[in-house]
């Protein structure tokens, strides 16, 4: 039974969210200061390998949070599907990353640490933030010609775990392992590069370090345990999804729309009203199809669809007590099978013509276009046929 994350589960509203945001930010800023990130020299040292504090703090934080997410989602208290995954745009991420790295070493800060430096009384920190503001405006001024590139290489919200087809906790354990490997390598590099620059080698503090490694490792191992647990058989493999074809659904909508709840699983912004199946339930503001499904009475059959196929049902739909069907092939299949004007069969047989008539009628019904006339049945000489002869009779 997952209750996390809280905000997408409507535990509190927007104003409370802002207050919590301030508190979370406070902790973020405090830790950044204690990490030494209010001083540009500590940050710049990363790029001369005299003190790799940036790598150590950043990668420890990523590994800890990543393993924590893997662990809690593995135990089923955190719904991974409700976490926001920044979308991938290959070109902008490569170019933006390079530019930001250059800006980082030139200014001595990144945008977050610049705020901490500013709060610590560092004028260079304040001016780096002024620069960030100017840079943001510059981007807006050149957005027109840049828009094409800005939207290029779009892959949507994709995680490395999804790309490799591995469970999240397994990848998280990999991140922890990789982090520890990087840390040991970075400490080695410090012993080479710090003396060269006449700087003291940062103290290693192996006892404290190993405790931190152990804590991250414990998160990762517990996460791996959840993957191995036999009870964590995903519900969707236990009960295969019942599917309905596009044509069959179209016939049902025509014949008995009152027996259906039709739910669009796509993001409301991504799917304009014209791009929906007629009869789709209009969701109230601020809810998702999955959440809304839990509020519907089970008196009707629930039909869910996305743009393409739905590999796994969202949590809320799984909880729906009545019959749940998934539109095979999603809206794309609907467009192809129902909305498209059907092509008359090349080699008409009575069965194909009947099928063509059905499709043509449905296409006409759902697009408002007049149904195309069925093709003439070609009577083959060898086949004795009862087909009416055109123009026969009197």
């Amino acid at each position: 039974m997952n209750v996390l994350p809280l905000y997408p589960h409507d535990v509190f509203g927007f104003p409370t969210g802002l207050l919590l945001g301030t508190l979370i930010g406070f902790a973020f800023g405090f830790v950044l200061e204690r990490a030494g990130f209010g001083n540009a020299k500590n940050l710049a040292a990363q790029f001369y390998l005299t003190d790799t504090r940036v790598l150590k703090v950043m990668f420890s934080a990523i590994a800890t949070a990543c393993a924590g997410i893997g662990l809690l989602s593995g135990f089923g208290v955190l719904d991974l599907s409700l976490l926001t995954v920044p979308e991938t745009f290959i070109g902008p991420h490569v170019v933006g990353g390079l530019l930001l790295g250059i800006g980082f070493i030139v200014s001595g800060y990144c945008p977050g640490t610049g705020v901490v430096a500013m709060a610590s009384g560092k004028w260079d920190g304040l001016m780096s933030i002024v620069g960030v503001m100017i840079g943001s405006l510059l981007f807006g001024f050149v957005y027109g010609p840049l828009e094409g590139f800005y939207k290029s290489g779009a892959m949507g919200s994709v995680t490395i775990a999804q790309a490799l087809g591995l469970p999240f906790p397994v990848l998280a354990a990999g991140v922890v392992l990789m982090a520890v490997g990087c840390f040991l390598g970075a400490e080695k590099l410090e012993t080479i590069f710090a003396p060269k620059a006449n700087k003291p080698v940062p103290a290693s503090q192996p006892v404290v370090r190993n405790r931190a490694f152990a804590a991250m490792g414990a998160f990762a191992v517990l996460g791996l345990v959840t993957v191995a647990l036999p009870t964590r058989v995903p519900a969707e493999t236990a009960t295969p999804l019942a599917r309905i074809g596009a044509v069959e659904l179209a016939q049902k909508i025509v014949a008995s729309p009152q027996d259906l709840w039709i739910l669009d699983l796509r993001d409301a912004k991504a799917a304009p009203a014209t791009e929906r199946i007629p009869g789709t339930v209009t969701l109230p503001e601020g809810t998702t199809a999955a959440k809304f499904a839990a509020t519907l009475p089970a008196t009707r059959t629930l039909v869910a669809y996305a743009q393409g196929d739905v590999p796994t049902l969202p949590e809320g739909l799984r909880a729906f007590p009545g019959e749940v069907l998934v539109l095979a092939g999603g809206f794309d299949a609907w467009k192809g099978a129902v909305l498209a004007v059907p092509q008359p069969p090349a080699d008409p047989t009575p069965v194909l013509i009947a099928e063509f008539r059905t499709k043509s009628a449905l296409s006409g019904y759902f697009t408002g276009a007049a149904a195309a006339p069925p093709p003439k049945l070609v009577v083959k000489a060898v086949a004795p046929s009862a087909a009416p002869k055109k123009g026969g009779g009197c």
């Binding site: 994350p5 809280l6 802002l18 945001g21 301030t22 979370i24 930010g25 406070f26 973020f28 800023g29 830790v31 950044l32 204690r34 209010g38 020299k41 710049a44 950043m58 420890s60 990523i62 949070a65 955190l78 995954v85 920044p86 979308e87 991938t88 745009f89 933006g96 990353g97 390079l98 530019l99 930001l100 790295g101 250059i102 800006g103 980082f104 070493i105 030139v106 001595g108 945008p111 977050g112 705020v115 709060a119 610590s120 009384g121 560092k122 001016m127 620069g131 960030v132 503001m133 100017i134 840079g135 943001s136 981007f139 807006g140 957005y143 994709v158 995680t159 790309a163 503090q205 931190a212």
Partner: protein, 173 residues
């Protein structure tokens, strides 16, 4: 009142672990992670909107922040960054590090460092909008949720830094 005596920095791995817990908390509470640059963007766009409301609203990129019914500063990240500032302030004061100064290498002037900070900041502001986030929103947050693009971004940040570091060496010596 006597300012507190200077305290040492935390062990970086401990600081990282605690920072990871803060990031994890953000995910558990809000469903998304931390950010920084977009608060500066919102502040800049909000200022531009005060000066030239029509022109700002007409801009294809800025129109997502300002326009009828949109409050540019009423945003989670703006409040979160306000928190970063307050947390940094309390952290710096309590550790005896709250001090008006310009961090620079011995060989460079204050003016040089300020100019470099602005130039680097401009690059970062531009880059963060292009990449839809900075070291906080992309590298840290996207990294923890294993976003493919965020990892590519993070690698490129380090690459860009190492590439240019030899040319600005004296700023930090």
């Amino acid at each position: 009142m006597q300012p507190p005596v200077e305290r040492p920095y935390w062990n970086p791995y401990v600081a990282g672990f605690v920072l990871g817990l803060v990031l994890l908390t953000s995910f558990l509470v809000m469903g998304f992670g931390l950010g920084s640059s977009s608060a500066a963007t919102r502040l800049a766009v909000g200022t531009a909107h005060l000066i030239a409301p029509k022109a700002t609203e007409a801009n294809a990129y800025f129109s997502q922040y300002v326009g009828p019914g949109k409050k540019v500063l009423e945003d989670w990240l703006v409040f979160e960054v306000l928190g970063i500032f307050l947390g940094g302030l309390v952290g710096a004061y309590s550790a005896g590090r709250l001090k008006s100064e310009v961090i620079r290498g011995e060989g460079v002037s204050k003016g040089h460092r300020i100019a470099m900070a602005v130039v680097g900041g401009i690059l970062m502001g531009f880059a963060a909008r292009l990449a839809r986030g900075c070291t906080s929103g992309q590298a840290l947050t996207g990294g923890a949720i294993l976003s493919l693009g965020s990892w590519i971004f993070m690698m490129c940040v380090f690459a860009g830094g190492y590439l240019v570091a030899p040319f600005v060496k004296r700023d930090w010596r």
